[in-house]
Symmetry: C5
Subunit: 90 residues, 5 copies
């Protein structure tokens, strides 16, 4: 899983019908301090803006959402409370 910070959200009215009701959060993945990458992840754990989260990608994301038939490839699967060795990740 990747570590990222929730920085925003996205509204989409015209979308795949299996995505109706999904909450799309913008997560800034902090792989390195110099290289940031934003992805849109479906949130099922109630993450708020500014929170540090665990993001699962690929088929794991659909499993995380309990929606095997929805076109989801990134999901927030946990909210990080604390960590050892996170360093400048936070």
């Amino acid at each position: 899983m990747l570590i990222g910070k929730v920085t925003g959200c996205v509204v989409s009215t015209r979308k795949n019908e299996k995505l109706v009701g999904s909450k799309f959060m913008i997560v800034e993945i902090k792989e390195e301090t110099a290289q940031m990458k934003k992805i849109v992840a479906v949130d099922n754990v109630g993450a708020g803006i500014g929170e540090l989260v665990l993001v699962a990608t690929g088929s794991a994301a659909r499993i995380g959402c309990g929606e095997e038939k929805a076109p989801i490839d990134a999901a927030i699967v946990g909210i990080i409370d604390s960590g050892q060795g996170l360093g400048e990740q936070i």
Copy 2:
């Protein structure tokens, strides 16, 4: 899912038979302002050139197209109306 802007389309006559009828859009993925990556995504939600879209990749894309037997690895699954924290993404 990734955020991108539809910038064009592609015509392919000689192709896998499961792709007949698919609409191939060129989507510019804007991960960072300095690094752009173009991919070809199958469109099932009616996206037009210039629109900001959500793109699902991998096996999620086939699910998004309702075509489990087509060799699709990227699909437009939603059109973005607005967003909070999109910043320079748009």
Copy 3:
């Protein structure tokens, strides 16, 4: 799918038995003008050297080859005739 140009081919005698008969083409993926990445894709649509093609990756590639039991992770699934917005891709 990715856009690339077929630039060569590869011969492999000692290989996985499910790959016997597969045609391995070298495809130069043109994501950006400055960054090129070569991959080897199995060709089932009859692409020739110099042609611009659509490449599917991951599990989509196996589906594109009709070979669910072959270790294929990249396949040429279409030959591009023309496009709008391809820009410097060609």
Copy 4:
């Protein structure tokens, strides 16, 4: 699989229910000496901080954890004892 060094761990209380009991380790993937990428991998082999490990990603990770229904996309599947050609990886 990727080679990485375990550098820390992460605590997450609010998380997907299928992840309860999982041990989240921070692994620094050393692809090149200049480019480091941290991922969070579920550990099932008892890796400790500082150990060099093999990390499987994607659907292989869920298989490695024996948890097909958990949203896991990275797992520690082996602890490296020694190697030939590891060079500056260690």
Copy 5:
């Protein structure tokens, strides 16, 4: 598939039980001359150090190893004899 050169191997005693007996080779993926990336791939075709090989990743790798239940995400599926357009790959 990716093209790479076998440069070493890795020994792991404490590992996932489904990996017992697997031969872990270090493969240097040569995407560009300036950017090298090492991965660990399971070898089932008898590749030796210094040989140029085809590497399948993701779920294709497990298929290549005939081990659907092993946490494998990269496998050597062919040894390259020769090629046209390999250029500075070799």
